[in-house]
Subunit: 346 residues, 2 copies
DNA sequence: TTGAAAGCGCTAACAG
DNA sequence: CTGTTAGCGCTTTCAA
């Protein structure tokens, strides 16, 4: 292999391999001058520890696993960036994998994944993080994990987590629409098996209630987190006898579908209908008009979770953390057009 | 760890550890009944080989590295899917990492990455794959790799590769526009340090030449593979005294920017101006109107490259492979409006 | 503060 | 066809 080993360094520095190991791992119990000598030898030989050997002999491989079950590419990349930032900083490796969050043997699959590579722990993103029965089993396998979930506050269930307040952010979006003067606001739901969808729906309902606007069943359309469902759902809303003047899509992809639906019907956004999304994905910036949305920093959130996980693995106590996505107002939302001037379609 | 080891299985099956290893690795030299007995023991104990140990003792870790230096999330996810498909199928692990393709020490960084985890080899995507000096150095380190690059045909330079014919695909797009009757066709270039940009430009020029349309300097705008450059570039083109009737963006993100620019100017696509992209990313499907583009199956291409790499590592000879992205005509392109009826702007 | 010995779980190289 | 012996490069004992 031509790889430099601990022993090579030890020989050059005139110390034992164990001492080099101590220096490489930044342990304190090394005399400064010895450390200096070793560091010089490391530098000179351009020594790099072999991660496999370290992982094999140690209790774990200084590598964390990041699992996702999500079709959203931006979300995944964003998470990867956040996890890498933390891992690189703390000298941990990263293994990323998609998985099927609805598998009945989820806990066992995760355990095997961990054991095969001696992973130090797992960061679980939604919706994997929402399979509580599996998580409980995972905990019995003594696998450290931190989960990211959608909740208005700390669930206090004993498992560490980073919680994202989707309800509050959705509330802010709907409040923004209400303040603009909208009363008939359509809501395009996201995938049923995501807690986040329910939380965002809750935000929608709470906002309407607080502003004294009655909930209309016909303005809430079910669907998944995909463009086509946004398109179809918006189409349906716009075809109502009394169509909504604003539509809130459960994420940006859905909102992009709604935007396309409006434009394909000859409606102009935001003049004929306002549209808002959720997530601040490039979709929302790169459409025309750009979408009002809630900025969800998946990278920051995952970096936080990863740091928490590594801290736990290192034996530290850590507190749970919370984030709230921030309202971003852009060109796709405006006050409703006075009724008399509203354009006649068909 | 509670992990089951080779020895546990060996004891239960009444054979040596080496025999279990042979069965686990699917080596042929095991008598069927012995194999059967071992398999039963493996099943019974739910044995899973430890990848670190295997990697440490073997010549390599049965894991390939995938490197990218690309801001395009869809592209990355798509590649990851392709690589995972091949790796899962062939029982290899996958490590993905971004890297800086313009680092002068690129080869050394890649070497360290490989050595630290004893990677079996690397799949290099553009533009990393285009740093030929670094690749030559990488080869001297005896690191197997397969590169994916943009070229009209096999470069025959001795390094294995999968080549993608961007020129041909770009030619097809421009030919499509020409056949619709467009003569003034704008071209929004992509990042200069991507070969693909040059190849797509070549396709543009070749098509114009073959159709006897003179090249106009003022219709070719420089920029990077980002939305904003597409927006600005298109804006500039549309502001010309004699604006183009069609715009070809070097990728879908650029085209999305052009689309937004057109719409923000009050132009209607495709009636006032046709727009085409390249890549078939979700952008192109999720905009309104959806974009005519060239379908580039990054997943298929990377899966192919990954399989080639693993074959090479296994000692097989492999031939280079080539792909040509396929023209996808959608709503954003149409014949040019007769001059007399062209809408007056400003 | 340092070092020597043992071993992590597996495979390579050789025997039988 | 199967088993034995030695490591892979590191960390964990435990002793000096």
């Amino acid at each position: 292999m031509g790889s430099v080993t601990l022993d090579d360094v030890a020989k050059l520095a005139g110390v034992s391999a164990k001492t080099v190991s101590r220096v490489a791992n930044d342990e304190r119990s090394v005399r400064p001058d010895t450390r200096e000598r070793v560091l010089r030898a490391i530098e000179q030989l351009d020594y790099r520890p072999n991660l496999l050997a370290r992982g094999l002999s140690g209790a774990h491989a200084y590598t964390i696993g990041l699992l996702y079950d999500n079709p959203n590419a931006y979300y995944i990349i964003s998470m990867q960036q956040g996890a890498l930032a933390a891992c690189d900083d703390l000298h941990f490796g990263l293994q990323m994998r998609p998985c099927n969050s609805r598998s009945p043997a989820l806990a066992e699959e995760l355990r095997d994944f961990v054991h095969r590579s001696r992973l130090s722990g797992l960061v679980l993103t939604t919706p994997v993080s929402e399979r509580t029965a599996s998580l409980r089993r995972l905990a019995t396998y003594d696998i450290p994990f931190v989960r990211i979930l959608s909740a208005a506050r700390d669930p206090l269930d004993g498992f560490p987590c980073v919680y994202v307040d989707d309800r509050d952010a959705a509330y802010a979006i709907v409040a923004h629409l209400l303040q603009l003067g909208h009363v008939r606001i359509g809501f395009l739901q996201g995938g049923k098996h995501h807690h986040a969808s329910a939380e965002r729906l809750r935000g929608y309902k709470d906002a309407l209630r607080d502003y004294g606007v009655p909930l209309r069943k016909e303005l809430m359309v079910e669907g998944d987190y995909v463009f086509d469902d946004g398109f179809r759902g918006a189409r349906r809303l716009l075809d109502l006898a009394e169509p909504p003047t604003a539509i809130f899509g459960c994420n940006d992809e859905i909102a992009a579908g709604a935007l396309a639906a409006a434009q394909s019907t000859g409606l102009s956004v935001p003049y004929d209908v306002s549209i808002a999304g959720f997530e601040d994905s490039p979709f929302s910036r790169h459409s025309w008009p750009p979408l009002t949305t809630a900025r969800q920093r998946a990278d920051v959130i995952v970096e936080c979770a990863t740091r928490m996980l590594i801290a736990r693995i290192s034996g530290d106590e850590v507190d749970n953390a919370g984030f709230t996505p921030e309202l971003v107002v852009r060109g796709s939302t405006a006050p409703p057009r006075p009724k008399s001037r509203r354009r006649n379609r068909r």
